[in-house]
Symmetry: C2
Subunit: 355 residues, 2 copies
């Protein structure tokens, strides 16, 4: 089991959420029931979110204390999930570091002036003002009391892909060409992104986040040798940079069946598994030193209650063989999801585990 | 080794291409050099293709004998690849069966009136007139002489996803919900698609195609138990439907690391491996009963000659441990690829293997 350094005893995180099922499961401590939260639980599946976002662009919403607090709390109130996830976006720290990036509806992050091999690392400044976000976290953790707030950031590879491609990419061809043809510049760029995201995570934890997740949404585009050579060292450095704060760290990527054994580094406590891998297989690959998170297919939420319940029960049963298990979807909640289905799933899981 | 039924001795395929490196490698017979072709070698990477397609929509191009012949031959002439792949699209047989489907530039196939659980299978008619395609294949095989023409079709799951989603989808949520909530209708739909594609493959082979590939572009969206329950039986039926014609059958999907062991069915001779899996690992999963195809990352073609050559050499070396190895990309040629890089790669591979 990887050693988690202790927080200073006077730090409020030390006691506030330590007994919550999410934190206990993340640390591999016994829990009475499988805890659950959902990636993108705060967002477009909720009518109250869509109402609040009307006329407000995503980047503004991510940098406005009141909106962050309200949007983060909406799914906690509605679904009764066991943790809140900070309402933010993986490109928020890029913007706070001076990169001209917008989040366009229906597209995703768009970078005005993509990074090239000739400018590379010089474009990544220090993390600027995120006081609106820190204030939101302070308010949230007071309101959440013993329920954890999960902070997060993007992994260096995924952020690099947005920076180099200029937006979402299916093939990541420019990113990979950069990586293979200019490895020294690449490593500098990823190290800079790792430092930037580390600052962002640290600020979230110091403001009150009880756990963090690193999202490597695009890692699954890489074969294992490339992932291990060009990407993993920087993700490890990022995760390690908050080791002294002692909160559980979740390492998650999409389409990572080939990478799970590599992602289960000592610098994280939990590895997320997407829906393409049977959780039982994921647990085997991840091993007994880590807890796991996942992995109901977000598409299952459209298939009716019987399908949702039977698949969720299978996942809970498989999770019993992990060091610890946090129930989640294999990827984010899809915008057309009926929120009543999520509420029902949380209730089902809470009953299941009480048996 | 799976048994390949013999073609009637008078059939021209019996002798015309049987000695070609592609066919020999597919059958696991010794070859002097690793043969190579590229998925999407006929297409947007070539200026002569773009010139020919000006003002001609994709569906028209796929159904016009002269265009099919010319576009199919362009990469053979330019690159010296070891096989031609029929210029077509996986939705061509859907259109020939009466489905209103267009191929929109920059989008892909768009189905005017998506299939639902209430109409399902009734929408899949018999294969209509494909005489323009058959005539093209007859002309091509004469021109290609002892070089194989590879025919192809989409796999039932991938076609079902287009039909149900109405176009390309990232999450396939409607498709999966259909599959899980209405399994009987689902199986009828996939069986109908399997029959339709089987007719299309048979027509291609009888007109002169020396090998076929079944493209399951979206199979990687499924976890293995779902793939085996809802999809694989129909892909097997499709592959089996042309078993009596005795041409090698290639079974390929994208993001199929979890599925390779399942995809290596007795009804195919070759399993394609995408770039996310090390070819050596793919060969282990596929086993000694099948040849393999793949798997250079299409993005590597943007990283300079040294990267291309060193990665290609690694793949050739790994392929030596398979029953047989056909070199290919892990997925299709990306449109911005410099065709000179492909020509250079073919030359490099032909030199390599002659050593």
């Amino acid at each position: 089991m990887s050693e988690i350094p202790a927080l200073p005893p006077e730090h409020p995180l030390q006691t506030r959420t330590a007994g919550s099922p999410i934190i206990r499961a993340a640390r591999g401590e016994p829990v009475e029931r499988t805890p659950v939260w959902f990636m993108r639980q705060a967002g477009r599946s909720l009518p109250e979110y869509r109402a609040l976002r009307e006329g407000v662009d995503m980047m503004t919403a991510c940098n406005t204390t009141d909106l962050i607090v309200e949007i983060t709390m909406q799914p906690v109130r509605r679904h009764g999930v066991d943790a809140a996830i900070l309402f933010s976006d993986i490109v928020v720290p890029l913007r706070a570091a001076g990169i001209d990036v917008e989040i366009q509806p229906g597209v995703g992050p768009v970078v005005a002036d993509p990074v090239t091999t000739s400018d590379g690392v010089t474009r990544i400044g220090a993390l600027g003002d995120i006081s609106q976000i820190e204030a939101a976290i302070q308010m949230l953790t007071r309101e959440l009391a013993d329920k954890p707030l999960i902070g997060f950031c993007g992994a260096p590879f995924t952020l690099a892909s947005y920076l180099i491609e200029g937006g979402p990419s299916k093939d990541h061809a420019k990113t990979k060409a950069f990586m293979w043809s200019e490895p020294a510049v690449w490593h500098d760029l990823l190290a800079a992104l790792s430092r930037l995201c580390g600052e962002f995570l640290r600020a979230q934890i110091l403001a009150g986040a009880s756990a963090i997740q690193v999202f490597d949404s695009w890692a699954g585009a890489l074969a294992k040798p490339d992932y291990e050579t060009y990407v993993l060292p920087h993700s490890r450095a990022l995760l390690d940079s908050v080791a002294d704060l002692g909160v559980p760290r979740i390492h998650f990527g999409v389409g990572t069946g080939e990478l799970l054994t590599s992602m289960a580094v000592p610098e994280c406590e939990v590895v997320g598994v997407d829906q393409r891998v049977r959780l039982a297989d994921g647990i085997t690959r991840i091993g007994p030193e880590h807890s796991v998170q996942g992995n109901l297919d977000p598409a299952a939420l459209f298939a009716g209650e019987d399908v949702v319940h039977s698949r969720a029960a299978e996942i809970v049963a498989a999770g019993a063989n992990a060091r610890g298990h946090i129930f989640n979807l294999g990827h984010g909640v899809l915008p057309p999801t009926d929120p009543a289905v999520l509420t029902n799933l949380v209730a089902f899981l809470h009953e299941q585990s009480d048996r």
